[in-house]
């Protein structure tokens, strides 16, 4: 295991607090945790791509960054208006 994979494992553990907040707190608190989890996910995918020497996999991180941003904006607007 190299240092990139080690950092990815550490960041995987950092997803646990986000899951706890999503499960136990209010909807807006869960949205905050979801946004944080999206950023952590993006970093994990970058680290896995580097650690496993699979450079094309970094495209997944690009897609995850864009989609997590768009999804969080949609969630924020839905929570603001309808829920």
């Amino acid at each position: 295991m190299n240092e990139w994979l080690l950092a990815a494992v550490v960041l995987l553990a950092a997803l646990v607090p986000c899951g706890i907040v999503c499960a136990l707190r209010s909807a807006v608190d869960g949205l905050v945790a979801l946004e944080l989890a999206g950023m952590i996910d993006t970093a994990i995918l970058v680290l896995l791509s580097e650690g496993l020497h699979r450079q094309p996999f970094v495209d997944l991180a690009v897609v995850a960054a864009v989609l997590s941003f768009a999804g969080a904006l949609v969630f924020a607007r839905v929570l603001e208006r309808w829920v």
Partner: protein, 108 residues
């Protein structure tokens, strides 16, 4: 160990540490507005991780893409924070504008 390796390790540790501390902060804080501060710091942490990969790979295919991700995260992080704070305020008070009972000094 060259300066380049040292730089990538420092950036990797700083980025990972910032993300972990942000996750702990989101768990520990009490209100949604307190939690939102940690989303901004998390965008910096994720960008640091991406820049660490850029330093390692230089301006290659993966290096350019990780630099793009870092730039994207740094730009969109504050946008997310603002949109979520707006949603929280609208849910809490029913509107975005200043209410009758609120004392907000706009000069400051």
């Amino acid at each position: 160990m060259s300066v380049r390796h040292l730089a990538e390790y420092v950036l990797l540790v700083l980025g990972t540490g910032t993300l972990v501390l942000s996750a702990i902060g989101v768990l520990v804080m009490r209100s949604v507005y307190d939690r939102l501060h940690y989303v901004g710091s998390a965008s910096v942490g994720a960008a640091l991780v991406c820049i660490a990969v850029t330093v390692r790979e230089s301006f290659s295919l993966i290096g350019n893409k990780t630099l793009l991700i870092a730039f994207f995260l740094l730009v969109t992080g504050p946008v997310l924070v603002h949109a979520t704070a707006r949603a929280a305020r609208v849910r809490e008070r029913g509107g975005w504008s200043i209410g009758d009972g609120e004392d907000v000094d706009m000069a400051q």
